[in-house]
Symmetry: D2
Subunit: 427 residues, 4 copies
């Protein structure tokens, strides 16, 4: 089933040094226009507005995920682990390479605004007569469906699904390393060689040799730090909020049959809720940014203001408060309205939370979100049973409320707000 | 004249770790829309098509140039070197920060296609009533003009010009380090701390303490390697050729009053040759890429084909030949025409050359393109007089002809070409 | 009081890139024979037997501690923090540079074996007429005493003591970075630039700006990982155990007036318990290793065997057990004796523990072992009050018993041991 | 012949991340006392007196050479190159691991002083009944001889010799990377992954694919820089000169039957010129340093002074002069004698030279010191024929005379020297 290249091809990669391509199918997949499109989607959405180095694309991340998967599999095969199924190698590699294929521009924000799901799009692109589909069919007629089922986690061999999505999958390992490299923060350094050496296929899933526990602890801590330092950075959240507001406002205007100075096909389809695969593939971040740039000149003041903020990075400010209840929110919103502000747009409440690792519930069966350690006696134990540090962090549900708002507008309205509310924003 | 911030601000930067901003003027300049626009212009143009990591922007490079300059000046001041003029610090920092302000999208290609010059645009943006101009005027009325004159190398104090443009300027040092970091090649590693410690202001220009000679040799070798490994990479050249052909074809069509399916203001102005500063500031790579994406659907087959190649990375192939004279070129071109190919578009000849360092001509006066070493007896000597390695490489004018062509088209026409020509491309 | 060098001197350092020496006193101190002796004492004792790269000396660590301290102070002075006392700079730098001066060969083991204390020796070397003393006296007559009092934590200005010893002192920061670099593990990577930028002199002690909390969390986690991965590595513990047994056996023999084939002055004095500063300064790891090498040929079998193990790295094996009580220990020891083993030497019990950070006890006053965060309202809070992650780890008192033993000897005696004991070692 | 370990063992290594041991024979060789002895011999001799980080041992270098060789071979086997002889793998790995086994303490100096050769000692240790010999015999009776013949370059299959010693051997690659890492200079960074990927077994020797030319250029330039920045550093040369003078003086005294305060077996044998393998294996740097430390107390003033200089790092100063002829040298020496200095010890002339790469002489046959490029047409060309940069540097024979002397002594004698001579040293 594999079709080895006559000579291995490589991509120079700052994170893994070289990405090695050894199979014709992989090489051809990379050269499709659907995969090349990922060059035009940033891996970290608007994070580049906080960390100027974070301009890396989903193209490079996807190659990275493929490469890590390749190394894991190659080690499984070299070591002759009997629980690994060598016939599944190519399938696993294809799924790893293509798992992010359906991401749209500024993915998380656009998905929220238009109730889409990138995983569905990934499967559609794999299945619906694209260059990708054609190449996968060259392996076998049913191969596109198999790849899609791995990505949607329904493939029959759980171990293959595990390699592509689980707490220790190649996806997470690549993005920690890559996002750390491009932002320049050094919290993402994990000993990937050691982690890879410690992975074992065991009884239909991927587990970790017990002696690798400290490396996993370190990996989970890195993940924790990256969440709070990078992914949840308030400046990034602020730009995402504005992004979603732009989409919301444009959609409202579209539904009101507002006459846009600038409108373009895939966006229009998006507003209409009828996007074909062909149009979706033309939807990239260049297009979204170009629309926003043009919309800075729109007559609708709100849209124009929001786009100006996004394009020229005049973002919302924020205040952090520890407690916030529904009554307070209602009060703030109504006093905003009373002071001539627009509570729908001039205030956004954000409460970022993340569990770095979900604790094991005693008595429950092992599930796919758990990391299992394999001890010398071939017994499995969920990691937080063994590691103090993992147990300590797995309950942490840290989070504070952040209120985002346009400081210039608020300043002008400050005297019209009740002092109890004004106080919050005056910090 | 300086207006220190109450608290130093920093940007996290993968190359310099932190960029330190200590002056209000610098902080305000960074937050202008003109400077923020540099986020939408890649530092390395189309190189990301060769090195997928090279998505970094001129924004990050400009911050880097500023930071290196800041470190040089801070060292000059800490060491109390008497040949440095402390009053020129802010001017130097502003010029360093802003020196690339006028770069357009895919800068080198667009400049060639439309006979523009980014330095002129930089000066226009600094001088013609932008947010930048306003902030610089807050320093003093004449300050915008001063900054522009440093960038156009006409400022009265040569030492300031030297820091911003000379063989050892902050610009070159940042781009070597940064381009190496983002492409992932490791040829760009230079001992910047040592180089900075060895710089001396001396008699109105920047020279190098003799004991820093080896560090400079290494820097020049890195530059040499980066040119051949990265900047002149044939895949990058191929994409630049297609880019220029797109601009050329679109301009031709525009002049023939072809009706574009998609056309947008700043591009139209560009074709017309009448771009205002305001329009120029809207011209970014997102816009160019969006136009190209839309043009893949144009009726004009040539334009549509070229845009398809660029967007989906189906680039021209190349062959390398050692000798090529005018007669051969004429022969190839006419046989291309005879075989139904378009010699204007289906063949491009490229001959990349670079002098890593220009040798000193004995008897000539020292000029600004030379690196001067300062020995213990306070004598200056041009570096190639002292360093064997620099002397060796300064004469190297390596170069080979590369012929670029669309392989698919050529393949079909191959039998219609005379065998002497067909042979060249059959390799 | 400071005596600036005419030109700054530098040392090339892999961890900090360059160590900058700007004061004549520091330069002269480095060039004394007492400070140069630190080149012959390894920073990590026997860790090189586990991590072959860990051959770095206390000389390089001491330079590193000096350099970090220099950077902290230089930042305090640049920022003009009013709670810093600029007159204490040179004192702080000298104490930072010299704080490890009294370390003996394989420091921790020799201190345990001979009930010595390196801090006392540091003070003696500073005070008792060495080249060091003489140079310090050149600053002022009382300066040696001041430096010694900072090191023994009795100096009147607590802030100076804080910089040299506290949970965030330059000592800990350098050793984490340096030990990680030389062992090659990547758990020690901390964002030292950020930590340094976040330190504030405040009310007579060093505190951390609240926004630096995540960097401190990461630092404490690195410390935690380094302890378990490097400092407490069982192979290192095994070699330390043998080292202590060698010292113990040699001392026993010395007291029994055994006639050593090889004996040498400073060692003899050490056994006798009467070491002068002059002799102590001749006591380095070369000497200890040479003695051990020669003792491999001693007639006393035990000493010869132990030295052979150490020199040729034939270390003790270990088993790990979760619970161990006094009865069990007594049983094991007596059964060892019964089986012809030597319970004094053929069994060592090790229980490594460490608190990565000591939690704040509510109600208690702030003490020097705490890390205090300074919030926007200039309020101090102990870090574990604010950081979930620090609170989580500060209670962790992990530890397991390790039994170390000579496997070859045990193997032969195994059948003579009761099965309950044999079982433990048979794993 | 190979005996795979049940589970691969690794060593953590800062340069290669992990050293992988897959064969029982290799594992057992590493654990011999002869190989462990290399922990007590520094890789860079006295360089630690210049670069304080350079304390790394020949043990770690030897593991590194083994690891690079392992990677090369593993790639040859994975790619199925037909010119490689898989049966020679274990032999090549053993020779790579053991090639430095015979190095003595401060190797180059001791070899010069006592006319020894570490390669001969390597072969003796491999052949003369050591733990090493015994293990190699377990492979086959004749295996020790084979390993020794590879190291002495007489083995029948040149390709095996090539991997262990040639301009692109694993030895050179490891030391460039390792010495750069431990000294902290960044000139040694080479793209080892790329170089390894470009190596090809071809017609009984190792050649380089032409597309790897730039990586080789960079490697040769790194080598050039490392020579001038590190290996030939004047401070290191100064310490080596003193080292050789100590050996010379001690030997003179020994021959004069001087009664040493401290003398020890392997040294005595060395002076006598009769060292057995057993004694040689006890000769390590700890022993040499201990002797020197004790000799600082010798009655012979010259020996005591030299040892004091070495141990406490009070080295000779130097002056650099461009031309020096025999007459001048004679004059200086005689005027030294006249001024009461000792021309045999108070003056050393050093003229370090190195050819970074030996140019190909047209017409000559390819020899083992050449790097050959393999082009697409399977033609071999010596690299300097193709690379301008290699051609440029291969003729460079840079060098200047350095005169080393004890500054304190010279200062006192300065007035007694003729002014023409005094002038040279007064700089």
């Amino acid at each position: 089933m594999k079709q080895p290249l006559t000579e291995e091809k490589v991509f120079k990669d700052p994170v893994h040094n070289y990405i090695h391509v050894q199979d014709t199918i992989i090489w051809r997949l990379i050269n499709t226009k659907e995969f090349q499109r990922l060059r035009r989607i940033r891996q970290l959405g608007t994070s580049y507005l906080t960390f100027h180095g974070a301009e890396h694309s989903r193209f490079s991340h996807s190659l990275g995920v493929y490469e890590i998967t390749r190394r894991i599999i190659s080690q499984f095969e070299r070591s002759g682990y009997k629980d690994w199924i060598p016939e599944e190698s190519l399938l696993t590699l294809c799924a790893a390479l293509l798992h992010d294929l359906g991401h749209g521009p500024f993915s998380h924000s656009i998905e929220e605004a238009f109730e889409m799901n990138h995983e569905d799009w990934t499967c559609r692109i794999i299945l619906e007569d694209t260059e990708i589909t054609e190449i996968l069919r060259d392996v076998e007629e049913d191969f596109p469906r198999k790849v899609a089922s791995v990505i949607s986690k329904t493939y029959e061999h759980e171990i293959v699904v595990n390699l592509v999505s689980s707490p220790l999958d190649a996806d997470r390992m690549d993005y920690l390393l890559r996002d750390a490299y491009y932002t320049g923060v050094n919290y993402g350094t994990i000993d990937i060689d050691r982690i890879l050496r410690m992975l074992r296929p065991y009884n239909g899933r991927i587990v970790v040799k017990e002696s690798g526990m400290h490396a996993i602890e370190d990996y989970l801590m890195s993940r924790y730090q990256m969440y709070w330092q990078v992914y949840f950075h308030p400046v990034t959240r602020s730009s995402e909020i504005i992004l979603r507001q732009i989409f919301r406002r444009a959609k409202e205007l579209f539904q009101e049959e507002y006459k846009f100075r600038f409108m373009i096909a895939p966006l229009e389809d998006l507003f209409r809720g009828e996007v074909t695969v062909k149009q979706y593939l033309m939807l990239d971040e260049a297009l979204v940014q170009t629309a926003f740039m043009q919309w800075t000149l729109e007559e609708d003041e709100l849209l124009s203001d929001l786009c100006t903020r996004f394009i020229h990075r005049k973002l919302y400010k924020y205040v952090e408060i520890e407690n916030l209840d529904t009554d307070m929110i209602t009060e703030i919103r109504s006093s905003f309205a009373g002071a001539g502000l627009n509570p729908e747009y001039d205030l956004e409440i954000d409460y970022p939370t993340d569990l770095p690792y979900d604790v094991f519930r005693p008595g429950a069966a092992f599930d796919n979100n758990q990391i299992l350690l394999l001890d010398r006696n071939e017994q499995l134990r969920e990691i937080s049973e063994v590691s103090d540090i993992v147990r300590s962090i797995s309950g942490i549900h840290r989070g504070r409320y952040h209120l985002y708002f346009p400081q210039d507008k608020l300043k002008k309205a400050l005297t019209r707000l009740p002092s109890s509310v004004a106080e919050i924003f005056a910090k």
